[in-house]
Each structure stands twice: as C-alpha cells, then as structure tokens.
Amino acid sequence: MGRINSLWLNLLSFLRRDLRSFRGGSRQELPNANLDKPAPEQLDPLPSEINFQKLDQLRFRRDILDWRDEFHVRIGALAEELFSQFSIYVENKAAEVGFFGRLFTKPAGEILQTPFDDLVRVELTKRVKEAEESLAQILSKWPTTIWPPFSFTEQNLDSRLACLDEIGLKPTNQEEILDRMDNLISGEGGLVETYRGHAASIARKLIQTFEATA
C-alpha cells in the first residue's frame, strides 16, 4: 500500500512539473532576458528616425496657407464694401437720366466703365498688390529657396464691362444692372473668385517648390 502511495505521489509530482524544466536545468537556471537587461535608467537614448526638416516644411506651409486664407477673407470683404459704394453711384447716375435719356438710353457699360475702374477695379488691384507684398515678406524669411513667380496675373479677368453692353442705364434697369455687377464682382467666375483662384494656385506652387527643395 505504502509503495502504491509513493508511486502515486511520484506520478503527481511528475505531472506538476514545469514543462520548461524538461529542456534540462531547473527553472531558476533558465536565462531571464529581463535580468540580463540593464534597468532603463542606465540606457542611452535611441537614435531618432524622424525627419526634423519636415518641421520647417510645416511652418512654411502654415504661413502660406494663412496668407492665402487671409487674402481670401480680405478680398471678399473689400469687394462687398466696394460693391455697396458702387451701387450708390449707379443709383445716383440712373436717377440723373432725363426724359430723353430714358427713351434713347446709352449702354450702361459705356457710362459705367470708367467709374467702375476707379471705384472698384483700382481698389481691388491695390489689395492684390498688398497681398503680393505680404507674401514677399513671408518668402524673405526663407532666403535659401529660389521661388517661382508669385505675382497675380490679369489673366481671366474681365477688363471690360461687357456684361452691361446691351442694357441701357436708366432707373428701370437699375436692379438688373446691379445684379450683373454683383455677379461680375463676387459671382461664379467673377473678379473675387478669379483672384482667390490665383492666390490658391500661387500658394500651391510655393508649397510644392519648398517641399521639393527642402
């Protein structure tokens, strides 16, 4: 009975053994990676794998996008203000048209071209020049890069009031004239949108140039 008990205990003890101990040596003798490792406090920093130059790209990108966004807002606000001033001019001008003038109206485009240039176009161009100057200032902070031309162009800008060629200037046409003017200034494909498109294109090119040369 005692022998059976002893065998039974040996078997139990065998089954309870740590599997790793079958590879030879006791559990305590197994190599322990953690024990071999020095404590973290004793290690030097690892070499960095990140591109620090990208921080300059990031900063440049932000400067340029902020410039683009600011121009976007300022040109829109200015256009709104100028249109409102020009509307008053058109109202006054239409009110001045006499009886015969109403019968034989002159094309609004012909009468309004010069005042439009003076009151609206010149002011918008001034704002565009200001934007070019502020951009030049931003770029001067990055003197090592050769920049592509970054001036706004007059391309795609309707320099004539062609939209008013077939409409006479008189009080009854005033609303129609102002609608067309509003569209010319702030509508789809209008002056503001075209300038904004130019700014977006300039920004894109500059960012590409910087990232290509950095």
Binding site: P40, E41, Q42, L43, D44, P45, L46, P47, S48, E49, I50, F52, K54, L55, L58, R59, R61, R62, L65, D66, R68, D69, H72, V73, G76, A77, R196, A200
Partner: protein, 315 residues
C-alpha cells in the same frame, strides 16, 4: 542617460514665446535660434474631462469658446472654471489660435474612454439630427451606412473602456486600434465626399464629422502607445497628419456655408488641428528614443489633477 518624464507648466514658456526666442509649431516649441525642439505641449486627462463635458455638442469652432465659458459657469465648480480659463489663456499665450484644437488632442490624446464615450454619444445625436434636418447630399443608403459606423465606433469605445479589466489588455487594445483604423477611413471618406460635393460645405456637419475622424485617429494612436508600440504609433501619426493635409489644406474660409468670419475661424481651427497632428509624431518619437514606457506616460497624464496642459521638456 535616461531620466524621469519631466513635465512643466506652460506658463514657464509663455514669456519666451512672446519674446520670439521660442517658436510654436503645432504642439511643440522650437528654439528660434538653434531650431532645436525645446518642449512638447501635452494635454492631460484633466483637459479632456473639462472640455468634453461642456463642448461635446458645440455646433462649430466659432461657438466653442463661448460655449465653454457659458456652459462652464452652470456645469462646473469654481475651481474647474478657473482651470478652463487658465487653459484657454495658456493656449492663447502659446499662440495656438483656436480652442478647437484642444478637442482633438494636443500631444498624444489621453483617451479617457469614459469621456470619449460621452463625446461620441453626443456627436452621434447631433449628426443624426443634422442629416435629418438639412440637405447634405447624403442619400438614404449613405445615411444608413453613416449611422452604422457611428454605432460601431461607440461599440469600440465601450470595448476600450472595458479593456483594462482583461488579464491581457494589450491584445484587445491592438484589435481596437485596427478597428478604429477602418472607422477612421470611413469617416475620412465621408468628409471627402462632403467637401467635394457641389457647393459650399455645411459647417456643422463638417465639424461633427471632423471631430469623429480626429477622435478615431487619436484613439488609434493612444491604443498603440498603451501597448508600447511607439514606432508603430509614430508611423500612424505621420500617416494621419498627411491625410489631414490632403483633406483640409484645400479648404478656405469661403469653402463653408457660413459668413466669411465664421469660415475664417473654421479654417484656422482645421489648420491648428492639422499642425497639432503633424507634430504628434515628434512627441511620440521623443518618447521612443528616450525609452519611455507608453503606458506609464499615459498613466501620468491621466492622473494629473492640477494642470490641464503640460509641457514635456526635451532633454
């Protein structure tokens, strides 16, 4: 030699930023003369809890600051209001223009999953209402898909909340990170669609979807940091930053159905968010090279009770 994680309060840097000797880029500060990174801006768990409570449902970035302060006085204790005010003041002193960025994480996001759950619930409700009430270009099939994804995201946050009780949470965090990656792709696609669809972008829907996207990505990164996969976390953070640039750079103040003023605030906010995302890899890389334990780092931030914003000084 490796030393302890060294946090400081933002006030210690404000004067140097103001004087121009330190330059802020996204969530980090650089020495203007040497170009060396001096410190990383890092939100703590306290920031997350403070912000989440008040502004989870803010309609747009413009309303955010006002909402924080207005809701703040009703919901918060006097101490919390003071902490919020100091956080906003710190962001402004460090020349981070918008508060919106604080909703999506400065430094690595400490995804206090309880707060995340609340925020996703709130975003879900708001998105639901928006889709129902305005014409957003969503067809019914897309609406249904969006709702399904919101539910999945909420389910994932629940899983993340429960993960610490597992004997091996690391595996669960890894799976959650993978699943969040899929969800982030979906919401990125939705945002892309919203931006590309003809006409101007609905600000409120854009803002809610952008928050979901950024939160999904933040949690992905958080989960990788928790499992100490810092190299992978950095890779993800880099890829997320690129995606944000592709998605958001094209948007201007005039891209939104809003006044130019509100559009300008939204544009500024998404620029701050993009920059914060782009500097996140630098912070993660710093943790990796210094051999910091990711879990320990997050624990330190979660347990911070005094300061919503901290600076991790670069040694």
């Amino acid at each position: 030699m490796i030393t302890q994680i060294l946090f400081e309060i933002p006030a210690a840097y404000e004067a140097a930023v103001k004087a121009g000797s330190l330059v802020q880029i996204g969530g980090l500060l650089k020495n203007a003369a040497t170009g060396q990174i001096v410190a990383h801006l890092q939100e703590s768990g306290l920031a997350h809890s403070l912000i989440s409570t008040a502004v989870a449902g803010a309609a747009s970035p413009l309303k955010l600051a006002a909402d924080v302060m207005n809701v703040g006085s009703g919901v918060y204790t006097a101490v919390q209001v003071t902490q919020l005010k100091s956080m906003i003041a710190s962001l402004q002193s460090l020349q981070i223009a918008t508060l919106g960025v604080s909703l999506v994480g400065l430094g690595v996001t400490v995804a206090g999953f309880i707060y995340m759950h609340k925020r996703f619930n709130s975003l879900d409700g708001r998105i639901d209402k928006l889709i129902a009430s305005v014409h957003t270009g969503f067809e019914s099939q897309r609406e249904a898909a969006l709702r399904a994804h919101m539910s999945q995201v909420k389910g994932l946050v629940k899983r993340a909340k429960q993960a610490p009780t597992l004997s091996r949470p690391e595996r669960e965090y890894s799976r959650i990170a993978e699943d969040f990656s899929e969800q982030a792709s979906h919401f990125e696609g939705e945002l892309e669609f919203l931006i590309k669809v003809e006409g101007k972008v609905n600000v409120e829907l854009f803002w809610q979807l952008a928050q979901v996207l950024t939160l999904c990505n933040s949690i992905r990164i958080d989960c990788r940091i928790r499992t100490n996969e810092l190299r992978n976390a950095r890779e993800i953070a880099e890829s997320v930053a690129n995606d944000y640039q592709m998605l958001f750079d094209q948007l201007t103040p005039g891209s939104f159905q809003a006044s130019e003023g509100e559009g300008a605030v939204v544009a500024k906010t998404i620029r701050d968010i993009t920059d914060a995302a782009a500097t996140k890899p630098y912070l993660i890389e710093y943790l990796r090279t210094q051999r910091y334990d990711g879990r320990e780092y997050l624990d330190r931030l979660e347990n911070e009770t005094q300061s919503p914003l901290l600076m991790l000084r670069v040694l």
